[in-house]
């Protein structure tokens, strides 16, 4: 437990002390939240404005979670490796899985803080949600899967890309590009057919749609049970692969 707590505290402080991380995880989605309300959603009829703003808020939470996993966690691992921390830890009686859990918990807390800020600002900007207990539980479940999937991708990039700046840029690029082509920034209905399929398979955009369907009442498509199963399986697969690669490349003795 001490090792999990120690890694959790260290990683969380690293995240909140990293200005780049704060910008991408909190400031950038906030900017898009404002842009959504004041630019992109202006043509939405008045009666749908509140739900559209709610949808926009959920999308920005999805983006924030994605960038936290894919960029902040990535930067955290890449920086620790670049400065030789793993060499030091490998020589200590440290259990790698406890280090992984501590890092993931730190990202969870970071995401929770970002989510709280985005929901608060979203509500102030007029976002409304269709709240039900089941809807909230489903949303939290899908959000957790999103965080696991993003963390999995973050673990993979952080473990494979050795250069710190390279790792951060790769994480940001994957997050921004996949957001753009999977309907996180834009409406699902605006996507071409091939990208719609990708949007239903990419765990973050798919979870985004499922959350919107659960508490914002509308999404570009009606999710089926198959959609839900795919989100669960693909998210957990990314996470498991991430853990395996992290253990192999950052922890295993050569």
């Amino acid at each position: 437990m001490n090792q999990i707590t120690a890694t959790f505290i260290k990683s969380f402080k690293d995240n909140i002390n990293d200005k780049l991380s704060l910008f991408w995880v909190i400031a950038w989605p906030l900017i898009w939240l404002f842009m959504g309300v004041f630019i992109f959603l202006r043509m939405v009829p008045e009666q749908y404005q509140a739900l559209a703003r709610g949808q926009n808020t959920i999308s920005m939470i999805a983006f924030s979670v994605m960038i936290a996993g894919m960029s902040s966690l990535t930067a955290n691992i890449a920086e620790d490796r670049q400065r030789g921390l793993f060499l030091k830890l490998k020589a200590m009686p440290v259990q790698p899985w406890k280090d992984s859990v501590g890092r993931i918990l730190a990202i969870l807390l970071f995401c929770f803080i970002s989510m709280s800020i985005l929901i608060t600002v979203g509500l102030i900007l007029g976002a409304r949600f269709e709240i039900s207990l089941l809807g909230i539980l489903k949303s939290l479940g899908f959000l957790s899967l999103s965080i696991l999937a993003s963390s999995g991708v973050g673990l993979i990039i952080g473990s494979l890309v050795r250069n710190l700046q390279g790792a951060i840029m790769t994480g940001v690029a994957v997050a921004v590009i996949t957001s753009a082509i999977s309907g996180v920034f834009f409406d699902y209905s605006m996507l071409p057919e091939a990208l719609r399929r990708f949007a239903q398979l990419w765990p973050i955009s798919a979870a985004n749609s499922l959350i919107q369907h659960s508490i914002a009442g509308f999404t570009g498509y009606t999710p089926t049970n198959l959609n839900i199963i795919l989100v669960v399986v693909i998210s957990l697969s990314f996470f498991a692969i991430g853990l395996i690669i992290y253990n192999r490349f950052c922890w295993r003795s050569e």
Binding site: T5, K10, R83, L87, K90
Partner: protein, 309 residues
């Protein structure tokens, strides 16, 4: 009692043999230094002892245990500055202390003790990223001074630090360690190796000589090294100087040349005269006792710090 025993150790990376059937023993309480140039295998050896890498074959024991079973007995400082720049010195130490399994309550007491030991009290709440190179080394030294640690493995701990701080760093280690603490120092600096009680010179994955610094230097049959800096460096100057050299090969440094001699007082005026008769100038000349780096050069024909011959 033996603190570290290395028997028939071999480490290969694909076809390249980095450690070649290496054998040595470090006794408990000994300050042992492995000195060699970059690529000699010294860091690979220390990382196998520290349980970071695995050997291809052979046996390593730390107080009779395999390295992975003896992690709680060893404190390892890698070459890199591994402290977290985003955290304060105190937060860094709290992190490492809790990673060693100490409870929150124990951690508070231990961290304050470590901060005092390495003399970082005034700067403990500054971010490590704002620390000077010397302060970072003190902080990292603190991460291996926990109760129960019997072997300190220091991989080039003073690289990049100025000579005066290097002395202070080893003075600090001497102050804070127990008498029974064993130290394994990895370095390419002869001045650091002089501080050890026993030195192993390593080249191409083999220990080529071992003994106290005094023994290694006494085995070198020449009494003096003459350092000469001339106005230019060319083959002619080299040939002139080589005629005075009693060693196997004239050693070329960044600034000039080193000549092995038995009687520097007699030879120095002759060198100055002949060089100046040849139309060149002697900028600087003086004699010193042979260093461990000179001993290494005599044995291998290579310079430890990688300056071309």
């Amino acid at each position: 009692m033996n603190a570290i025993e290395v028997r028939d150790l071999v480490k290969k990376y694909k076809d390249k043999t980095v450690l070649n059937n290496l054998n040595f023993t470090i006794r408990e309480g000994e300050f042992y230094c492995l000195m060699g140039p970059n690529g000699s295998g010294k860091t690979t050896l220390s990382s196998i002892i520290a349980s970071i890498r695995k050997q291809t074959s052979g046996d390593v024991r730390v107080f009779g245990k395999t390295p992975d079973k003896a992690k709680d007995l060893m404190g390892y400082i890698p070459q890199e500055n591994f402290s977290d720049p985003h955290l304060t010195g105190r937060e860094n130490l709290r992190y490492f202390t809790r990673m060693l399994g100490y409870t929150n309550k124990e951690t508070g007491t231990i961290v304050e003790d470590l901060i005092k030991k390495v003399d970082l009290l005034e700067d403990a709440d500054k971010k490590a990223g704002k620390y000077s190179g010397g302060m970072k080394k003190k902080l990292e030294l603190a991460t291996i001074l926990y109760p129960g640690i019997k072997v300190l493995i220091l991989d080039e701990p003073t690289t990049g630090l100025d000579p005066s701080f290097r002395r202070k760093f080893f003075g600090l280690i001497d102050d804070v360690k127990d008498k029974s603490t064993t130290i394994l120092l990895i370095t390419h600096l002869g001045s650091d190796a002089e501080l050890a009680s026993k030195v192993g010179l390593i080249d191409n994955g083999v220990i080529i000589a071992e003994g106290s610094p005094g023994e290694l230097k006494n085995n070198n049959k020449f009494k003096n090294i003459i350092n000469v800096v001339t106005s230019i460096k060319n083959d002619r100057v080299r040939d002139i100087l080589n005629s005075f050299n009693q060693g196997d090969e004239l050693m070329e440094t960044e600034e000039g040349y080193k000549i092995y001699s038995d009687d520097s007082a007699e030879v120095i005026p002759k060198i100055v005269r002949i060089i100046e008769n040849g139309g060149y100038k002697v900028i600087q000349i003086g004699s010193t006792e042979p260093s461990l780096e000179d001993v290494f050069f005599k044995l291998t024909g290579k310079q430890v710090r990688g300056v071309k011959q």
